[in-house]
Symmetry: C2
Subunit: 175 residues, 2 copies
């Protein structure tokens, strides 16, 4: 560790506490997605604020998921998933797919693609994607996906997560 942190002033191997780390990302806004799949016929899904574009050509995206998450065993087996990008009026659905110990699909508001993956009704957009790689990183996995089908709703305003709450997008700011 000494060599790796040699240029810093922090003690070798120093790292932020979990609370310190969370205080940084609490202030970092993110779009909200629901990642969903079929696991032996059963629908599985969860809210993710970590979906990012990795490359447009080939069309690759990624998200992170805690290995301790109830959805991880299904994601670990999945060949394909659907990622629904939520619209500004879907905070309730986001909260439902982030709640533990309930049947997240019981409340409706979704449908299945012909290929089986659940997609959120009225989402701003969705992609169907093939799982390319699951990379263990600390107590999580980074899951890389290749997009194979998509739909974009032309007029949807997106949902934004920030400081443990849901927001609409605000006005533009000049460059």
């Amino acid at each position: 560790m000494t060599a790796l942190t040699g240029r810093g002033r922090a003690p070798s191997g120093a790292a932020l506490s979990a609370d310190e780390f969370r205080s940084v990302f609490r202030g970092h806004p993110a779009g909200v997605a629901v990642v969903a799949l079929r696991d032996g016929g059963r629908p599985v899904g969860f809210t993710a604020t970590s979906v990012i574009s990795v490359s447009a050509e080939p069309p690759l995206l990624a998200f992170s998921l805690a290995t301790s998450s109830s959805s991880w065993p299904a994601v670990a087996r999945a060949r394909t998933v659907a990622v629904s990008f939520l619209a500004a009026d879907q905070a309730d659905l986001s909260a439902r797919f982030a709640t533990s110990g309930i049947d997240r699909f019981a409340g409706g508001g979704w449908h299945s693609l012909g290929s089986g993956e659940p997609v959120v009704d009225g989402a701003a957009a969705w992609v169907r994607a093939r799982v390319v790689e699951r990379t263990p990183v600390g107590s999580s996995h980074l899951v890389t996906l290749q997009a194979v089908a998509h739909h974009v709703a032309g007029d949807a305003s997106p949902l934004v997560f920030h400081d443990r709450g849901y927001h609409r997008l605000g006005g533009t700011t000049r460059v």
Copy 2:
């Protein structure tokens, strides 16, 4: 490829075009960060809308960077970087650190940590981090970092990127 896409209706190996893929992520809002480092004494930095939290314990974050990017050779060598999370009034600085062919640091608005990494003045927060892993993914790399130092400005509103423009955060939306 057939086995991997076997549950879908798309032809084997089908994937979104780069334009189709971009149309999906154009609608997905993101916070804005500047990732910066010292490369043999020279400051190097770029705007990133792909910074995500991966795990709080250990404190790991990640971002993606095109391997063709002018900053990639320096990131490929870096042991540590600083990630500055931009505030709502920093759209101009974000645009500058996303412009090719200029000296992005010449305009000022930044300072160096004692350990050398450039940090944006007035950022909403920053972390100094050790590079843990550089994973090639398509035409990009996913870079995983461990946070070793941080600062959070208590009162900063964040900058949001969406549909090729900069926004403030809007009002809260109920759950």
